[in-house]
Homo-oligomer: 330 residues x 2
């Protein structure tokens, strides 16, 4: 198995990427393709101990910037690490591609260079997140700000395959994110999507309010990319606000400071449960190749987790399962 | 000043309502109208010490149920405490009406019995919530699942007046909730609303991602009722998940238990900062009267806070300011 990693993706590239490939090559013993400016990567790798047979540097002189327009970079920057990674997937020289670069750029490059799975109208970005006693996938979290019911139906199919293969949930429960749990609640998009999911053959459990979603009442939560993005970013913002508030309050008096010190390991365990780095990267589902997009803030641990998930996707033949599901379900 | 309170609104009615009116009558010394079944309320009030000149029971034999269809109750249940409360506003026997009942029922009753402020296309529900170093109002959080740009522009005007009068923010900063902070980001609704807000004469600060919203970068956050509802409910769900996780982890070992005990007051202070009860009730803006809708879970404290805010709205002549703003801005 060959996983390709964009060396120039994360905010602190290529440090975390270098550490991640070195560690991943030791952990799994499979060759990894590291994509970026050859001179830079080779000289940086010289600082590490690793098996040179397992890390292959693929030259890509250009770097995608956050300010680059996604559409323009896909066509104009053919030698960016992002573009080269997609091309390696296309030519089957890599089995999966992991990048912590600009999400818009990754999507544009994937669409332009890989294309969609036959029958898929809009690829979507999923994210795995923690719920009570487990994990669920939320899809779409940002690829499509404006959606039609048929797109959401397809997101449900793609998300269900992912939940089955990567989250090990047979016959996953699919819910539709809404502002009320009763059937008939929702905006027009939700109301029109509901009957499509009811007759989709999926294990549809109806509308999901955020509280049900976090209570783990579905394995797949389907929504449009605007709402999904707001939902994910609100979760992150509230978790951060709350953590900061607790930290400020705890250090504000000597007694609660001691208390904070004594309960520190408990806080650390909560942090691990909620840490996005634990979940690695967001799968871009519906394109002709396995693409995983990590957060720009990804550190070494997050990238290793992303590589781990990409490996599981290759091992479970996620690509074939997605294609089959789209053909048979729609 | 006369505030009217729906005695049958909260999940545990009328207990919290009775305690709230008794306390409010002592605190402010103004008469309060308590609406519900007369016999029940009078016999229950007999258990309290209060000045009978300050609490006037208004008979309303019917009670709105959560299962009642909002539209039907507005027209069909003319003697519900909700309907009677709105009628008291209409006849100017009350200056503001507070209810912790069914939100849909309250909106339907307000629209049917009070009507809209002249020029307002859609009334909206706002909510005040905690941000870093202060408070902000988010509008709409559920009255209108599907919106047009002009509705959002009006929500901005209504929310800005509220922020100015109730949150004491002169020339409040208005932001548009979006999936990216750069101009041009968003779904079609956001993209079409942006230019309207730019030329609205309001202090428009552009798009707001949830992290900016919670960082306090705007005083008024404008969104459609579907997105706003998901945003509020996600905040509540994440705060609850995080609090439960911390509690579970802290009690899982003897050392962190002691730590949790010592830092308990810090947790309590964080709880107060985030407690919806601190913020009382959501204003329904754009109807011909001051209506405040509390959470079904409202307790005595939340209801007293709701009465306090309703009083501030009357004192600041919020109604007139809203009418003037709608006429002059649009």
């Amino acid at each position: 198995m060959r996983i390709a990693l964009d060396a120039m993706g994360s905010d602190n590239h290529p440090g975390p990427e270098l550490e991640a490939v070195v560690e991943a090559s030791k952990r799994w013993g499979d060759p990894i393709l590291l994509i970026g400016p050859e001179d830079l990567l080779k000289s940086s790798l010289a600082n590490f101990q690793y098996d040179p047979k397992l890390i292959k540097v693929i030259h890509a002189p250009e770097v995608l910037q956050m300010t680059d327009s996604p559409a323009r970079t896909a066509k104009g920057k053919a030698e960016s690490s992002m573009a080269v990674g997609m091309d390696l997937l296309k030519s089957a020289e890599a089995d999966a591609f992991v990048t912590a670069g600009n999400t818009g750029g990754a999507m544009a490059n994937a669409l332009f260079r890989l294309g969609r799975i036959r029958g898929v109208k809009r690829p979507a970005l999923g994210t795995v997140f923690p719920v009570k006693d487990g994990q669920a996938i939320l899809i779409d979290i940002g690829a499509n700000a404006d959606c039609r019911p048929i797109y959401l139906q397809q997101f449900a199919v793609l998300g269900a395959v992912y939940a089955e293969i990567i989250l090990n949930k047979p016959d996953p429960r699919v819910g539709l994110v809404s502002n009320g749990e009763e059937a008939g609640k929702g905006n027009l998009l939700v109301k029109d999507t509901y009957p499509l999911l009811e007759k989709s053959g999926l294990n549809f459990v109806g509308n999901l309010e955020p509280k049900e979603l976090f209570a783990g009442e579905a394995d797949v939560a389907v929504t449009d990319g605007f709402t999904g993005n707001i939902l994910v970013k609100t979760s992150e913002a509230v978790a951060k606000l709350l953590t900061n508030l607790i930290r400020t309050e705890i250090t504000s008096s000597p007694i609660s400071s001691v208390g904070g010190l004594l309960s520190r390991s408990a806080f650390r365990r909560v942090g691990v449960t909620l840490d996005p780095a634990e979940y690695g990267a967001a799968p871009l589902l519906g394109v002709q190749g396995l693409v995983f997009i990590g957060h720009g803030r990804s550190d070494t641990k997050a990238l290793i987790n992303a590589i781990r998930i990409a490996r599981e996707a290759v091992e479970g033949d996620l690509m074939k399962a997605l294609e089959t599901a789209i053909t048979s379900r729609l």
